[in-house]
């Protein structure tokens, strides 16, 4: 890259002022940088990347962290090295990934924040209601929370007044749960079910890494007399954009009694061809997430660091990788209203299920267990049905329930 006069003159005058002294300095600089990239203004790109490089740190305050991780993405975008960097990062992450660390991180996260437990509680309530009276249950689980959702459900099944049903749990193996992790999870679930006295069967469904969209009905080995529930927590977004509607049709074809969908409230899909818009949304969402992390964990938390690093890979994927089947497809989130539109469309569509008052009460009770700042928002209007978890009044997680049209 060539140096330029803009870069030099502006930078030398900036020695007297400290840009990091102002509030939310990171967002301002990042925004300017993204703008320069979309305008292909080379000298400005240099200037802002340089400033961000000086000021950022992944171990400092929220501004510094955002600056650091977004800088990496913007730099890769500017140097067209996003895909290669992403692949390396994923390889490293997989190398150091283990059941122990993953479990430690998610359990700590669930202890300090309802971010994932919100979806669990809402989904479990609906699943239990929908499968009431059934003797043979089959839950197909596609989630990114390492089966931490199911112990409470198993407990509920065990303590029901009527006869305890037989539960089959099919967990779809994703990138994170590959190899020994899934084996460990399966063993623990079986042990827990035994403890609870629930007749239980565990099955891992292999689909190859990030290839959710290629699953077929046969992969689930459905049986005649079972009632099926499909649980998708943070899963739909990992399906390639072009395959999403098709994937929903496959789910429809499983004839489930209920489908629960939980996703993070962000849109990196409709704007994927307008860089600056996608960037703004990314900054908004991750800015909120990082701020939430900072307020929920202690300053020196390794668990929080792992979550932040995971975010950095997502940010890189969205902002620096090529879409259309490449690594840039992996983390394209959509908002609740967008998923609703997909679920409602086509011949094989779904109809929303309401959350009962009991379910809503369960969620409210959950939120009370956490620090202030969290609230429940029931959706208004026809646009999106479901429940929203809000952090400081901003909706961040969406939970919904559906049944297939007959």
């Amino acid at each position: 890259m060539q140096n330029s006069s803009y870069h030099q003159t502006t930078a030398s005058s900036s020695t007297s002022t400290d840009p990091s002294a102002s509030e939310k300095w990171a967002e301002k600089l990042l925004r300017e940088c993204a703008k320069a990239i979309s305008e292909k203004d080379s000298s400005k790109i240099h200037h802002f990347l340089w400033m961000l490089n000086e000021l950022s740190s992944p171990y400092g305050d929220t501004d510094q962290k955002l600056a650091s991780y977004f800088l990496q993405a913007l730099f890769c975008k500017a140097t067209e090295s996003g895909d290669r960097s992403y692949n390396t990062l994923i390889s490293v992450a997989e190398k150091i990934h283990s059941f122990d660390t993953a479990r430690k991180v998610i359990l700590k996260f669930q202890e300090v924040s309802p971010w994932t437990t919100f979806g669990h509680v809402a989904s479990n309530a609906v699943i239990l209601e929908a499968l009431e009276g059934e003797a043979k249950l089959h839950i197909i689980d596609m989630s990114n929370t390492y089966c931490t959702q199911w112990p409470t459900l198993l407990e509920a099944l065990a303590t029901r007044n009527d006869e305890t049903p037989h539960l089959r749990l099919s967990v779809v193996v994703t990138a994170a749960t590959g190899g020994s992790v899934m084996k460990e999870i399966g063993q623990r679930m079986e042990k827990f079910a035994r403890l609870m006295g629930v007749p239980f069967e565990f099955q891992a469904v292999n689909c190859g890494f990030s290839r959710l969209g290629e699953l077929k009905r046969e992969d689930f080995a459905l049986r005649e007399d079972e009632a099926v529930a499909v649980n998708c927590v943070g899963a739909l977004r990992s399906v390639s954009i072009k395959d999403r509607n098709g994937f929903l049709r496959v789910i429809h074809g499983l004839r489930p009694k209920v489908v629960t969908v939980v996703e993070e409230e962000a849109d990196f899909t409709s704007n994927k061809d307008v860089y600056i818009m996608c960037f703004e949304e990314c900054l908004r969402f991750y800015g909120t997430f990082f701020e939430m992390l900072e307020e929920s964990f202690v300053a020196t938390s390794n668990e929080r660091l792992m979550l932040e690093r995971e975010c950095s890979r997502s940010i890189l994927s969205v902002l620096a990788c090529e879409g259309d089947g490449g690594s840039g497809e992996c983390e394209r989130r959509e908002k609740g209203s967008q998923w609703c539109a997909r679920l409602r469309s086509g011949d094989d569509h779904f109809m929303p299920l309401n959350f009962s008052d009991d379910a809503v009460d369960d969620v409210r009770a959950l939120l009370k267990r956490y620090q202030a700042g969290w609230s429940l928002v029931t959706s208004q209007g026809d646009d999106a049905s479901g429940l929203y978890l809000a952090w400081k009044d901003e909706p961040v997680v969406w939970a919904s329930a559906w049944k297939p049209s007959s």
Binding site: H7, D18, H46, S57, Y59
Partner: protein
């Protein structure tokens, strides 16, 4: 402090009788004992500098992996570096000119075959030490300008090392790899000679935290104050020039003893140099207020310039006044400006005493020298913090992140800590001697000061003071970190 003080006579021979502390044997073969990070570092660093004549093509890590250590905590063998980074020809189809030779997608060949363990403290240490090895490989790659290779390694290092780890080695790696990533990026961007941005508030706050949890700052302040006090003996008009005053934490203690001198207090002038006029004014207000409460006659002159950039006429010395110049060297930002100009300023001022506290690592020279020196230096400091503070301690994190990490970034940056490309002296002590300044040995009273400070910081068995060559050196275990010395102007000797 103390009553009777001896007048410093510059030509007096320094009595090197050590008090309880062994004098360092430089260059002697030391039995490697203990898995202590800094010991390991020195050993490996020596290997690395011996090997660094080889270019990237010939560089081999075999000499390291064939060494067998026997640390006291049980078996440890540095892992054989069976790491291979496959170079496939750039086939991503982008076809741009600077085609980085990256690895393509398949998982297990991409990264090192190092296995990462978690959760058990012994494994933490083991992981920390393996990370150090990868870090050093990365440094070598940078030193021969192989930025692609370095970048790959950094992607790995920055994903694995945690600055909150129980292992000091891992914390060091986290910050060093971040510093190197910064450097690699700034190399890609060009414009490396531009002045870096200074973030004053966070630095000052972290500096205060450092002063609380560690004896190094107090050591610098109190031994220097002692030397200045001795130079001011029986002088009525005194002038202190602080080349980088920051918040002036050093001076209240000296004011106090000057104000309560048996001969009566002197009239004290202070010229304070620093980066920001507002900060200097604030410091001036604090110090003036303190002096007033002590009944000390005091004048404060802020000079918001670097010593190497200031017009000497702005530093006014008056006839009949005794001048002391003080400087605590650090790498947080470029406090001095051009070394040779600062030296010239000192020659012009011709102070009765210059109190100097230097960091024991090379601030200039080729990247690899600075890397090895600072890795050893900061590993030692991290060790000292880790010995007394838990891994969740917020002050420890503050110091490591806002202070030490910043220094590390500057040390490894293109152009070194000054970032300005100016020629730096290898060692100020050597340079002062070359210019004819005479060394004033640190007195027994200064040593006593140092001792008293150490008593405030457990575990006292960890921090060590060495005296020799007229200097006082504070360090951790056998590694010296800060060296205090005092000098007098050649003009005054005639």
């Amino acid at each position: 402090m103390h009553g009777t003080l001896e007048l410093i006579h510059p030509t007096e021979q320094w009595d090197c009788t050590p008090i309880n502390f062994p004098v360092t044997h430089h260059g002697s073969e030391r039995q490697f004992a203990g898995a202590e990070l800094s010991d390991f570092m020195e050993h490996v660093a020596r290997q690395l500098s011996d090997n660094s004549e080889n270019t990237a093509d010939g560089f081999s890590m075999e000499s390291l992996s064939n060494e067998a250590f026997t640390p006291s905590t049980g078996e440890y063998r540095p892992r054989k570096l069976a790491r291979t980074y496959h170079h496939t020809s750039g086939s991503d189809g982008c076809g741009h000119a600077e085609d980085l030779q990256w690895i393509n997608g398949t998982q297990s060949e991409n990264v090192s075959t190092m296995t990462y363990k978690n959760n058990r403290s012994n494994d933490h240490d083991q992981q920390g030490l393996s990370l150090i090895t990868l870090l050093m490989e990365c440094a070598v790659a940078i030193s021969v300008d192989n930025l692609e290779e370095a970048n790959k390694m950094l992607l790995e290092l920055t994903q694995v090392a945690s600055p909150y780890s129980p292992s000091c080695a891992e914390r060091v790696v986290a910050y060093f790899s971040k510093a190197m990533a910064r450097r690699v990026m700034s190399s890609c961007l060009g414009g490396t000679m531009l002045s870096p941005l200074v973030q004053s508030k966070s630095i000052l706050s972290a500096f205060q935290a450092f002063n609380t949890i560690s004896p190094f700052i107090k050591f610098a302040h109190f031994t220097a104050n002692q030397a200045i006090l001795e130079a001011f003996h029986q002088r009525d008009r005194v002038h202190i020039i602080d080349l980088d005053i920051m918040q002036g934490l050093q001076w209240p203690a000296l004011f106090h003893i000057l104000a309560t001198r048996p001969d009566g207090p002197p009239h004290l002038r202070m010229t304070a140099m620093g980066t920001s006029y507002e900060a200097l004014e604030e410091t001036g207000r604090q110090l003036s207020g303190f002096a007033r409460r002590l009944g000390l006659s005091f004048e404060f002159h802020p000079v918001a310039r670097k010593p190497g950039e200031v017009d000497p006429a702005m530093i006014q010395t008056r006839r009949g006044e005794t001048v002391a110049v003080h400087w605590l060297q650090h790498s947080l930002y470029d406090a001095i400006g051009a070394d040779w100009k600062t030296m010239r300023l000192l020659e012009l001022i011709a102070p009765r005493v210059i109190t100097l506290v230097e960091q024991e690592m090379p601030h200039s020279g080729p990247f690899l020298d600075r890397f090895i020196g600072s890795l050893h230096y900061y590993s030692t400091i991290f060790d000292s913090l880790g010995a007394t503070l838990g891994c969740e301690d917020v002050n420890r994190h503050k110091v490591e992140h806002w202070l030490l990490s910043r220094e590390i970034s500057n040390m490894l940056a293109v152009g070194g800590p000054t970032r300005s490309g100016d020629e730096r002296f290898g060692s100020w002590r050597t340079e002062l001697m070359r210019r004819g300044f005479a060394q004033v040995p640190m007195s027994g009273n200064s040593m006593t000061q140092a001792q008293l400070i150490l008593n405030m910081f457990p575990p006292t068995h960890g921090y060590t003071i060495q005296q020799g060559d007229g200097t006082l050196r504070l360090g951790w275990k056998e590694n010296g970190l800060y060296t205090a010395s005092a000098w007098t102007s050649p003009r005054l000797l005639r």
